[in-house]
């Protein structure tokens, strides 16, 4: 099993596997998104207090979850690449960063668009919002650092260090609504308690999360193929 997994650490094998998996992941992302949008925008009722603006949460909440999840994956791959000197792992970390940044951007923008009608303001320097903004800066810093250092191994090491140090921010984002008295509401769904929202709302949220997860993996594979092409330029297997 272990040797099977390591087979895909070779860029040539990974490239071909990614090429085969990608269409399925895009199809899954589109199917889940279509179902999630129907559920969230047409089937689920408007929130009794927030009204129609609550429909923004079907994109805001999954995007915010994915922004943290993608960061964990990115930091994990960056650390593995640094520790084991595994170039494919470092390439995956680089491939994940722009997708994570996009999810963070979406979470912040949709949060502001939800906050305006609900809280009466686009932005507050609340612990949850500020730590999510720091996450965006971490992603941008990672991307900038990867592009700024010429020598690839040094760039990957510097990026891994930044990503691992930035991991501190993830529990701060997640627990900020518990640790501090924030304007941002508490967790929408927890593992320890039954959800308090309508079943159709919960289904919409979960379907959109699955759509974004499939999108993130498809996008990571797509960008990782770019990284492989850049890294392996002139390799014999690419000409075949």
């Amino acid at each position: 099993m272990r040797s099977r997994l390591f087979r895909f650490a070779a860029p040539s094998r990974f490239y071909r596997l990614a090429e085969r998996l990608e269409p399925w992941l895009w199809a899954a992302a589109l199917a889940f998104a279509a179902a999630g949008l129907v559920m969230g925008l047409l089937v689920a009722p408007a929130d009794a207090v927030q009204g129609e603006s609550s429909r923004i949460l079907f994109i805001h909440v999954p995007a915010a979850w994915m922004s943290m999840l993608v960061y964990l994956a990115m930091a994990g791959w960056a650390a593995v690449g640094w520790w084991l000197n595994a170039r494919m792992a470092s390439m995956l970390a680089r491939a994940l960063a722009p997708t994570g940044a996009a999810f963070t951007f979406i979470a912040l923008v949709t949060g502001a668009l939800w906050g305006r009608p609900t809280w009466g303001t686009w932005w507050v320097w609340d612990a949850r919002l500020t730590s999510e903004l720091i996450l965006l800066f971490l992603y941008v810093g990672f991307i900038a650092l990867a592009g700024a250092v010429e020598e690839r191994r040094r760039a990957d090491a510097a990026c891994a260090l930044l990503a691992v140090l930035g991991l501190v921010n993830i529990p701060v984002i997640y627990f900020s609504v518990r640790w501090w008295n924030t304007l941002h509401q508490g967790a929408s769904i927890t593992l320890s308690a039954a959800p308090k929202m309508a079943h159709t709302m919960l289904a919409g949220l979960l379907l959109m999360t699955l759509a974004m997860w499939s999108y993130a993996v498809a996008m990571a594979l797509s960008r990782a193929r770019c990284e492989v092409l850049e890294h392996e330029a002139g390799a014999r297997w690419l000409k075949a």
Binding site: A46, E52, I56, A102, V109
Partner: protein, 45 residues
């Protein structure tokens, strides 16, 4: 479903989904463009 007709804060809903759709659609397009450019370029010596 008053959000469809921009009533009841519908404009915020449209903006949120519009911005997200653009951000999400831009990424695969950029990646495909980069991959095509990389495939076209001369191999490194």
């Amino acid at each position: 479903m008053s959000w469809l007709t921009l009533e009841g804060h519908g404009v915020y809903v449209w903006c949120a989904y519009g911005v997200s759709a653009i951000a999400l659609a831009l990424q695969p397009w950029l990646a495909r463009r980069r991959r095509r450019a990389l495939r076209r370029r001369e191999p490194r010596a």
